[in-house]
Amino acid sequence: MRVTVVVIGAGQAGLAMSRHLAVAGLDHVVLERGEVASSWRTERWDSLRLLTPNWMCRLPGYQYEGPDHDGYQTAAETAGWLEAYACRTGAPVRTRVTVLQVRRTAGGFEVATDDGCYFAAAVVVAAGASSDARVPAVAAEMPRRINQVTAMRYRSPAQLDATGDVLVVGASASGIQIADELRRSGRCVTLAVGEHVRLPRTYRGRDIYCWLEAVGQLDERYDEVEDIERARRHASVQLVGTPTRMPLDLNALSAAGVCLVGRLMLVSGAVAQCSGALASLTANADLKQARLLQRIDDFVTEHGLLSEVPEPDRPAPTRLGSVPTEVDLERFTTVIWATGYRPSYPWLDRAAFDRRGRVAHDGGVSPVPGLYVLGLPFLRRRRSNLIAGVGDDAAELLPHLREYLRGAGSPRVERRSCRSVIEGAGEERVPDPMDHRIDGA
């Protein structure tokens, strides 16, 4: 099948891109391996809600219309909300189509799938930033009797062995939420904490995202920050979206009885060795949080809002008791790896990756002409990985894509059988980009 643009993935990014392509009158298809919003349906735990409030649920020509503007949609509600968007925009989604290989040819792209081959002038990869759980190499050293579950496969406390302690590795959004849920279910939980980003759920009476929007933090651009590579590797913020706007940080977890240890470094026999540097990481997270809250306070003062908002309510500094550097794994039955996610596009032309195996791009524009990526952290601005961020990114990629299409003219398509492409798909594997870094742990 010939089409001008193939969009890969029907999550928020792919649907936002589709909407912009449709408005621009560009024919396209959206290929989706499962159903619309597949990851939200199948790769998230039961209790998960968005970190962003519902008033931030907005995509091009679409926004949250429910009654609870300040609430946080569940993963299932988010999937339904995206499904309704796909219906309303009439997005040309082809569900249950798995992409096997994307190859740049002289005339454009060959997209080999389990439903035949698509020939396109341009390809937009919107297959998600979290398609794979990142698991550190130390996982291989865990005692065999311990069950290992990634945050992507975790569903609820009931899924785990009923007895024994649980070690949660990673203290970003996933790790702290799962540790909290397990502790509330009565489990003994140890949380291994690496580098993390701390933020309060609310500050001076408003949701933190309200302030991040107001001060312009979410709009900082990728070509304006000092070190974009580092900014793109930042772990997700320590936040949870609950109906009560519950604060959740390391102090709250300690108070609830979760045992905090440093970053998991190695496992030797039945002993896990953890970093002794935790105090330095919590001090860093506290300092960075204080800097951001000061920016908010300055904004309040500068905009004459002092009479409208409550006094600053700074969260307490992180308190650490004695932090053990060794954990005896004998009493543990489960390890949960909440050590981050990464995009995994093994089907993508290897010219699209940098030497470290990461998708190369400049604000979503690949060095491979006609190839674009969307929905990755800090793609074009800090909000890029939020639902409220992909729409603007898609809008900015569109002019580049149209310019490319004008230059490419009517794409010439090699008339050869797609069979060879599909058969060769297994060989063209990109090097494993996993760097065995324990992200956030």
């Binding site: 000092e226 440093g262 970053r263 470094m265 190695l266 060795q273 970093s275 002794g276 540097a277 330095s280 001090a283 860093n284 300092l287 204080a290």
Partner: protein, 187 residues
């Protein structure tokens, strides 16, 4: 903070050269592979002398301006001759000097003029570990504290941030806080 609004300070750190090195090694990661070396010779009793002469890095062999000698021994309360600091004390010296070099570098990078920097290091140890009296007691330190006394043209919050960044970029802080695989063999 960008380079343009960084005030000119002189802490004796060549920041331009360091920034240049960072950029060069980003583009040529193979040159970032270093090997540090030391050779230790037993003198008598618990006294030993470690000589430090050369190292490998930036794709080539390098020789220090001179050979440095580090004597180590045990104190007289251990019935030794106290010809030098104990090895754990040398580890504390390494930690403090590494963090202090970091303070100077980070401060310079952030445009902070330093006037004086003093670090006091203490470390607890239960000798029941190394003497094999109690198997549950480790040989090494149970806790290390480093206290900085800094006089500089900066706020307390800025100095705290400099200390945090110095820990984040310190080799010896990492060496001491995190496990490292060590192989000891007979040549």
């Amino acid at each position: 903070m960008t380079t343009t609004d960084t005030p000119t300070v002189d802490n004796g750190v060549n920041i331009e050269a360091l920034r240049g090195a960072r950029e060069a090694l980003t583009n040529h990661p193979e040159a970032a592979t270093f090997q540090w070396r030391a050779s230790c010779e037993w003198a008598r009793g618990t006294h030993s002398r470690t000589m430090i002469t050369d190292f490998f890095g930036l794709g080539a062999e390098h020789v220090h301006r001179q050979t440095y000698a580090v004597d180590a021994d045990h104190p007289e309360v251990f019935a030794s001759e106290d010809n030098g600091p104990t090895p754990p004390e040398i580890a504390l010296a390494a930690l403090a000097s590494c963090l202090t070099a970091g303070v100077a570098t980070v401060a310079s990078n952030r445009g902070v003029q330093l006037h004086s920097v003093k670090a006091t290091v203490t470390a607890g140890m239960d000798l029941q570990g190394i003497l094999g009296i109690d198997g549950d007691v480790r040989n090494g330190f149970d806790q290390v504290t480093v206290t900085y006394d800094i006089d500089a043209d900066a706020s307390r919050a800025d100095l705290e941030a400099i200390l945090v960044q110095s820990q984040k970029r310190s080799a010896v802080f990492d060496i001491i806080t995190n496990p490292t695989t060590v192989q000891v063999t007979l040549a």
